[in-house]
Amino acid sequence: VTPAGWGAASAYDDVAGEVAIVGVGESDHSKASGRSSVEIALQATERALDDAGLSPHDVDGIMYSASVAGQLTEADFRRHFGVRGNLWVSHEGGAMHWAATAPYAAAQAIRQRQASVILNTFAVAWATERSQMVGGPGESHAADRAKQNFEVPFGWFPQPVYMATIARRHMHDYGTRVEHLGRIAVTCRQHANLHPTAVMGDRPLTIDDYLASPVIVDPFRKEDCCLISDGGGAYVMASRADAAGLRQPVVEVGGVGRARSFTGLHYAQQDPIASLPLVFAGPVAMTMAGITNADVDVVECYDPFTFTTLISLEDLGFCPKGEGGPFLESTSLRYDGGGLPAQTHGGLLSHAYVHGIAHVVELVRQLRHQAAAQVPEAEVGIYAGVTGAEAGVLVLRRAR
């Protein structure tokens, strides 16, 4: 347990209004498809470039995560599209918290004239690859030697087990109930039912269905836990000035924040245990954007579990710590509920487990007013990404 100061934000320059997301694309999302993650990323890339009205030859920067296997590299991109020019390459891209912070790195590259049209992609084929934890969310955690020696032997592993334990404590400390988690699961599913490519698009879920579903890792039911999917997404960034000459309504980056927890993957030892480093990243991004929580029209939280959405809303300051349950009783997360629209494509729970890249795609569509479950007059949105010890927060806004 870290006694004081359990995490901290990165020092970020102000990049407000410098960069826009000019094109977005999703691959087909599915259970095991037999496709490779690179094929999936290429499909999303083609769709994002089409969406922007750009050609692969316009791209002079490419971003992906080097720490997730099978990502679309500069070599893959060149080979597939026959692109020969210079490419600026950054490994500070991808999904999870990087889906929030990639625009910060892109802003720096554009400032320094290293690139002008930058592609960020992420894809996984985890449903195809899944066996014995090779591929999948537990793999990197299984490599941690403290976990191997102090957690794995007892079966306190992997993520569903940690988060269920933490959720149980949140319930004890604050009175959170399974019905609160159920509200999140049901809203996500309702949104997925409206989304054209959501994996659970044709599978309705009521609160009664939820409560009748067996508990698999107490207090979580299957519907509290994310899918395992094949799928991916891509988005294209350019300067705010260049964006104005392109096809789509301009959605600009208002603010970006990044932070980490000092306890790393050792969630058991973090104090406060039921908090995410969004606590530190959120204020950086929102201050940069010059907004408060009241300005936010739509929020997309990285949601491996329903409970993660609940504590993300707390940690982003939409309600005080511990009051996520009562907040959900008084505030609808539905796109048309007049409360705080969230997870408007269905999230990792019901859309696809593509690690947050589709959350950003959805947020851009919301702010262009092109979403399936469109929030009326959405002007400002937040993506909150968490992975391992890190968090990233991205504020996007519809340019006036």
Binding site: G138, P153, W156, F157, T165, I216, D218, H266, A268
Partner: protein, 183 residues
Amino acid sequence: VTGAAGSPAPSTRPAASGRPESSPRAAASAPKSTREELRRSTFPLPDLTWQPAREFWEGAAAHELRLPFCPACGEPVWYPRPCPACGIDRLVWRALSGRARLFSWTVVRRAFLPQYAEHLPLIVGLVVPAEAPTSRVATSLVDCDPEELRCDLPMEVTFRPLVYTGVGTCVAAMFRPAAVADR
């Protein structure tokens, strides 16, 4: 079985963490890739060649719950690493009373690793040892009806074999609700 009440008096011994790895196997084994680690023949049992964990598991084999403390500030340092307050890496392992409270728990009904399947439902959680109130120890919860568990319930250590069929076994510090008389 030696319970909390029967534990020997606290003893101290030099730290494992920070000591150079001396066994040839250990020296040759670091660092490993994830997939190599998952193929380790003793997975998901502990890797007893990893020095920072050795005292914990040797303690369990001797029916002692041992945790590392900083010799300068006296605080527990869990998991073992250089003391975050003092930077000292030669931690001192102490045998504790085995009294603890239940921080939280879960009942796992799905095998997230194939090796866990034989033990379902798994009742696992985090306990806070009486002498290390800022540390949470992951453990198996035994001799209990999960319906009776609640956060902050007094617990006591009990040493039981951890068995993975086809892999092996070792003695582990598990916890059970404390006898009512001891609460």
